[in-house]
Amino acid sequence: MAELVFWTIAALTIMSAAFVVLNNQLIYSAVALLFTLFGVAGLYIFLWADFIAGIQILVYVGGILVLVIFGIMLTNKIKSVRISHKSMQQGVGGVVSFWFFIFLFIALTKAPWAISDAIEPIGTVRGIGVLLLTDYLLPFEIISLLLLGALIGAAVLSRGES
């Protein structure tokens, strides 16, 4: 059962991702991205990463995706939902991407991964919290600063020339 669910989610993720990159209408791409993000969140759950999954939905779906949609709307004179956008060098791009995937696939099957088993934790939040405020305090602070900088930068940039 779990196996089935897993593969369903995997398929949903891949399919919607394909839709994102292949579809010609921007808004549809954005909506397809929603499914991809949800799918990835699902995969996180399978990976016992409950906290990350939550964050994935909160930040990606709640934040980034909304931002993207706003972006789309702000940059197009919307007359209909069908905001078309063409692609280019699809042939060459496809070939290169495909061969890239082939090589990655070969690599991941051939690589001798060091695996060690573990039991499912009761929750990861506590562990992450401890780690963030002990070992990873500096990255945490830096990323906060970065975020702050990005916020200010974004605000300054989008204000335009005035």
Binding site: M88, Q89, V92, G93, V96, S97, W99, F100, F103
Partner: protein, 685 residues
């Protein structure tokens, strides 16, 4: 050491005038009466100290008295200079002369310089002069003597140039300093020669070392002596450097009396007397000739001068020549004796001339006449009644300088002439020396009486101002009377002798000649012996020549039985030469000064216009040429050919590759990924 009055008093005498100089130069303008009382007070005080020393000397009556003290000035281990003072009878007498004449000058100037625009400076410089002159007198070594020597030159420069608004005064001061410097160079070379041989600057080690004859002797010593003597030539205005002294009369008359008659110019003679032991017979011969020639040349020049101060100036030069002649013939104490008497009567003569000029000046001022020269004797005449004190005092001094018995000059001049005569008797080849001496003596008598007659006798030549001529005030006549009195013989022959024609007295007792340090020279005794033998002959001759001189002057200028015009016309070129001072200035100007300036200009031209412009900048131009050539090669050959060849190849390649550079980010990304693929493939195989 400092408690000893024989050391501390001379030091006071030395430094008090310096103190006065410093006070006046910095605060003179702010002091009441511009501070003249500071200067006069300090100098009179030093005079009293000098009198004290003099009295001490008379009371001791010790001809060998000597006292010295010194401090270390430079001490580098081996190289040492000690500055010190040396006090013996010679020094004390000289100090007395300097302070006496200096005091008189200070007092005399109170009236003479009244209302001058730089009154305080004038007194300050007098202080500086007195300090440096005392420095020469007291020096116990060559270095301090040389230092004071130069300082005297500077104060002379400042005082001659006191009225620097006049170009002639400015020129004269510069000329005086530079001419003195020429002499100083010789002096300094002499010092270096002595030091490098002896290794000391102080007099006594030098004398000792010379007397051993090992460190320095022969020609070197002669040259060293002549070098030192060159200093005296400059300072005492001897031929051929005598040209500055007559010009120096541009300074105020009291200054001329102090410096250019009594003290500063006597410094050279004083130095020769002080350093007599180092002169070799060869050097002494040269000295004697220099003195002789100076005496006669200057005397001849003095005959025709009309400026009252110029006559006195040439007379001074001539008298200094006498003294140097005496040093050269070995009777150096006679030279010093003449220095002493000459200081008194010549200073007095200058004061008297100053008094006359002062009076003339006032009279001209009253008459609103600014063009007439107040110093020209042709504008004077008949002042005898108007200025009796000046007249009689001047007459006495004139009698003294002419060498008339009963007066001081007779004694000293006689001693010199006796020495000269004795010298010639023993060295007949030098017969010219007494000839110079006696003829100069005759001429001196002549021109001095010419001066007296032209100024005080006869009819007034300028009626317009005659009524305003009057006797000078007491501060001026005081020094005149004092120094006039001192021209009598009696002051020099006391206490043992009242005979007016014998020079024996305190002076000859206390200032005794010493043997020369140079091995093989005549001893002092021998010289004295010879001179003694010649004494009566010399005395007779000197009285005779003086009478001839005076008689001629009387005939020509008093009774006018002989016409001066006719005689001058008969002598023709000699008169011309005398009137033009033997063309010294003109010839120096043409053969020394002008070529020198041309040399300077040429050197400067070579330096700036030629050497720098063409040679140094030529390097620059050469470099530029070279760099142009290499630049051409660089550009055309290497750059255009080789480097641009690469460039062109890459240009073509670039044009081809440019097509790939689309400027689209995604293209580049594609290439990146493709590149990664290629790498992976390459890795795989």
């Amino acid at each position: 050491m400092i408690e000893n009055p024989m050391i501390s008093f001379p030091l006071l005498i030395l430094f008090l005038p310096l103190l006065s100089f410093l006070i006046l130069i910095f605060f003179g303008k702010r002091l009441p009466r511009q501070g003249d009382w500071v200067a006069v007070g300090s100098i009179v005080f030093t005079f009293l100290l000098a009198v004290y020393l003099f009295v001490q000397m008379l009371m001791n009556y010790n001809p060998d008295f000597s006292n010295s003290a010194s401090i270390s000035w430079i001490d580098l281990g081996a190289f040492k200079i000690n500055l010190g003072i040396l006090i013996d009878n010679l020094t004390i007498v000289m100090l007395l002369i300097v302070t006496l004449v200096s005091s008189c000058t200070h007092i005399f100037s109170l009236e003479y310089m009244k209302g001058d625009i730089r009154y305080n400076r004038y007194y300050a410089y007098l202080g500086l002069f007195t300090f440096s002159m005392n420095g020469i007198v007291l020096a116990d070594n060559l270095i301090s003597m040389y230092m004071s020597w130069e300082l005297v030159g500077v104060s002379s420069y400042l005082l001659i140039g006191h009225w620097f608004e006049k170009d002639s005064a400015a020129n004269a001061s510069k000329k005086a300093f530079l001419t003195n410097r020429v002499g100083d160079i010789g002096f300094f070379i002499g010092i270096m020669l002595l030091y490098s041989a002896v290794g000391a600057f102080a007099f006594s080690p030098i004398f000792e070392s010379i007397s051993t004859g090992e460190s320095i002797a022969g020609a070197t010593l002669t040259i060293a002596g002549l070098g030192i003597f060159m200093g005296a030539v400059g300072k005492s205005s001897q031929f051929p450097l005598h040209i500055w002294l007559p010009d120096a009369m541009e300074g105020p008359t009291p200054v001329s009396a102090l410096m250019h008659a009594a003290t500063m110019v006597a410094a050279g003679v004083y130095m020769c007397v002080r350093l007599f032991p180092i002169f070799t017979p060869g050097a002494l011969t040269v000295i004697a000739y220099v003195g002789g020639i100076t005496a006669i040349l200057a005397a001849i020049t003095a005959i025709t001068q009309n400026d009252i101060k110029k006559v006195l100036a040439y007379s001074t030069v001539s008298q200094l020549g006498f003294m140097v002649l005496a040093v050269g013939t070995g009777v150096y104490t006679a030279a010093f004796f003449h220095l002493l008497t000459h200081a008194m009567f010549k200073a007095n003569l200058f004061y008297c001339s100053g008094s006359v000029i002062h009076s003339m000046h006032h009279a001209l001022h009253e008459a609103h006449d600014h063009d007439t020269d107040p110093q020209d004797m042709r504008n004077m005449g008949g002042f005898k009644e108007k200025m009796p004190v000046t007249y009689y005092s001047m007459l006495i001094s004139t009698l003294a300088i002419a060498g008339v018995p009963l007066f001081s000059g007779f004694l000293s001049k006689d001693a010199i002439l006796a020495g000269t005569l004795a010298f010639a008797q023993h060295h007949p080849e030098h017969f010219l020396l007494p000839l110079f001496g006696f003829s100069a003596a005759a001429i001196t008598a002549f021109y001095m009486f010419r001066l007296i007659f032209m100024t005080f006798h006869g009819k007034p030549n300028m009626k317009s101002i005659f009524k305003d001529i009057h006797e000078s005030p007491n501060v001026m006549t005081g020094p005149i009377v004092l120094l006039g009195t001192l021209s009598f013989f009696i002051f020099y022959t006391l206490p043992s002798n009242f005979n007016p024609i014998k020079d024996k007295g305190w002076f000859t007792d206390l200032i005794v000649p010493r043997n020369s340090s140079v091995p093989g020279s005549l001893t002092a005794n021998e010289i004295a012996e010879y001179a003694h033998h010649a004494h009566y002959l010399a005395m007779g001759l000197s009285i005779a020549v003086a009478s001839v001189g005076i008689l001629l002057a009387v005939l020509m200028y008093f009774t006018k039985t002989l016409s001066a015009k006719n005689i001058s016309a008969r002598f023709g070129f000699l008169y011309d030469w005398s009137l033009n001072k033997f063309y010294f200035d003109e010839n120096y100007n043409r053969f020394l000064y002008q070529p020198f300036m041309r040399l300077a200009n040429t050197v400067s031209w070579i330096d700036w216009e030629f050497y720098d412009k063409y040679f140094i900048n030529g390097f620059g131009r050469l470099t530029k040429l070279f760099s142009n050539a290499s630049g051409k090669f660089d550009y055309d050959g290497i750059d255009q050919g080789l480097v641009d060849g690469f460039g062109r190849v890459s240009g073509i390649a670039g044009k081809f590759l440019r097509n790939i550079q689309t400027g689209r980010l995604q293209n580049y990304l594609l290439f990146v990924v493709a590149g990664i693929l290629v790498i992976i493939i390459a890795q795989a195989f």
